[in-house]
Amino acid sequence: MLEFLLTSHPLDCPICDKGGECPLQNLTMAYGPGKSRFPVESKFHNEKRVPLGDLIMLDRERCIQCSRCVRLQDEIADDHVLGFQARGRGLEIVSLSDPPFDSKFSGNTIDICPVGALTSRDFRLSARVWEVRDYPSVCAHCSVGCNILIGERDHDIKRIVPRENESVNEIFLCDKGRFVHHFATAPERLTTPLIRRGWKLEVGSWNEALNLVASKFAETRTQHGASALGGLGGDRASNEDLYLFQKLFRQVIGSNNLEHRVGWSATNVGADLVRLYGAGVGTNLGALDKNVTVLVLGADPEEEQPVIRLRLTKSVRWYGANLIVANGRVTKLAKHAKQSLVYKYGAEAYFLLGVIRAIVDEGLENRDFIAARVANFEEFAKSLEPNTVERCAELCHVKPEKIRDAARQIAQSPNLLILSGREAMFAQQNDPAVASGIAALLLITGHVGRANNGLIALYPHNNSMGALDFGLLSEGGLSVREMASGKVRALYAMACDPAAAGEFTKPAFLVVQDLFLTETAKLADVVLPAQSFAEREGTFTNTERRVQLFRAALKPIGESKPDWWIIAEIAKRLGAEWKYGRSSEIMEEIAATAPRYAGMTYAALAENVKMPRPAYGQGNPSDQPTEIAMGELENVSSGKAWRSVAESEPNAKFELVWNEPGQQSPEDSRQYLAVARSLYDRGTLMSQTQIVRPRVPKPWVEINSQDAEQLGIENGARVRVSFDSRVIELTARVDGHVPPDAVLIPSNLDGTAALPLGARVKVEKV
């Protein structure tokens, strides 16, 4: 067999990227005959450089036609964009999608290619794999927190590959996580502190910069009081940074003006719900079977948390998880749902209420659970009275029988997970009944406090959860908008860029701590250079509340310092007696003081565990003794998740909250504006990576084909969208994904920042 595989293999191992980690090479070395019986002249020669999209290069000569990449795309990624063409010796891999190889998981085909046929256009021919040192880390993009290995050589990141963790990312990684890392070593990185002298920002020393910040903070506090100081801590920073950041403000300065939700117009993000009813520890989104119903509410994980979309799809297809997708539009995930429900934007609460009412009507509530742990079910059931399923159905535009069907599945399923995304969080902000509806749905069916039960809120960034845990929320303090509009005298912005995210008025004194000279940094009085995640240690908490440790891979760029060090130095200069020598000491303090993070020291987080590897195949994973089938993974550091109140306090009683859904806004001839997000954007981190640039879409607006016809708009036409005083021009995408009377605009592309969700907009042809 090996001899056959090698008949037309070019044997260019000395220049092949796969050399050193190539299964074909290894097998040939172990078992292959030294000499082939086929004449060299009969070898086929094929094209060696065929670009398969922007990210992958195909070498047709090396390809052994195993079809692993085709199957990965079809069966795991669900993007049917790779296929064979022709047959026999002419067989070759092609992609006819537009753009070619249009998948967010294309990089995974490089890993599973058993030869060097598929190579990364980024890493290609730039290093031998044995010269690259791998450092375990955690992806710093979205909130999934995929485990990665940073491949370092000569103080540069050569490549990023996934690190296997069955409970987070398995062996997968999206293309953003894999390719967008050049920001860490970009020449635009800040290397020294900058201090404003006159009109210009000039290079200063650390001591000078820190002294200036501390003295200005102290001065502002004595002159205008502590509440004249505010802190915006980005949710890209690590737990250690965020903990010290809030400690600086709360303990040392005495101000409660702390926020992290820069660029988010939602004020209610359901953090309370997660604290109470968060999905039980041990939930594994990639191995949910037919006993688990998953309700994905107002989310588009394909664009926001790609690996979660991939794992949910896998759970449905391999293990038969019962997926219900409810949103105001059709998302990619909906294709795999047993039930895909499209409700009317703005009427989310009525949808939830309809489901709750249907459960109570049919007596499907979990009486044992309610008796043991719910305080006020009778009252709650009574307050539902005026809202019949039919009324809710009429208001949310979902048929009553569909609501009843969903209700039965939710109530009768042994397990229920609710994943609420960006659009659901925006809905919660406009209408508190959405949040109370989610909580009530979990409580009356008794689906909390166990693995595979409860709520997962899909947050936007790698450490949004950590920022919520450490209370960077405007409870009692000023909001992001207030701080950005000059309501504070001194503002400390760490790892965030409020000036790029919306209107920004510079306060009297502005400190920015970031990797780059961002829009906000250009306005700052002092700019402090921070280190990227690749240069330091720390922990991130992912959207499933899993705290994960990442290690340093690179030497610091220039004079940049870890965020926590900078904060601690400022605190010392303000008189605090802080003694932190390394970030692990901060985590020890967190583990000792924050109950949720109890016991989560670096040593505990780095602990290697054995993890069963699930068997892949049709059917229910719990039917099969998986450890025997596929063995165990050893030496996996899986991270630790903190427990929700429902788990940690088994005797706690919960209260159902009744909120009458908000009044339906009167009929309006203008379109309802829904806001989504595109995976590839123009963000600071993305813009440093050339090869993903073509993947960043031009700003677009999605319009329903009915509306488009009425307005005379064709697919691809330029349209003008106006609301309040703002007018933007975009390209129209006409399709059936958004409902009539609504338009969808991704909010992180050129000129589309800070869009007000739920606003009424006017769309016209240019």
């Binding site: 296929g83 063409q85 022709a86 047959r87 092609v94 992609s95 006819l96 999608s97």
Partner: protein, 157 residues
Amino acid sequence: MLSQQAKSEIQQLMTKYPDARSAIMPALHLAQREVGWLPDDVIQEIGDLLGLSKTEVNGVATFYTMYARDQPGRHTIMFCADLPCALRGADEMLEHLEHKLGCRASQTSPDGKITLQEAECLGGCNHAPVMLIDGAEHAQDLTSEKIDEIIERLRNT
């Protein structure tokens, strides 16, 4: 572009199978009969109808040799290259045909009129050598003269 009728015929075909995508081969045949070959936009249309990606439809269309992904001449000649025909001098006939047309097998003549393909047994061994014209007409007991005559006729129609 497929006609409305072809599209509805494909939709009809889809109902005959438990899984609609199974209709891909008859759908490709139908499209090829209508358009003459299978250009990219037709591949896309069939994919849209069957719920398959363009890449998947292309995979099937290129696997089977009787689907044409390249634009053929106005007429297609399939020339039998199997044993009984070979025993009756098919090789020489093919060579003659190639000279006459000015192209090799699996190519189209320079004037764009006739595409020549080699084929497996066409089921006319008792009249070998045999070729099939436009998928319908058997030309049998071939001689150089017969071939010349046929080519003249095809060139003029």
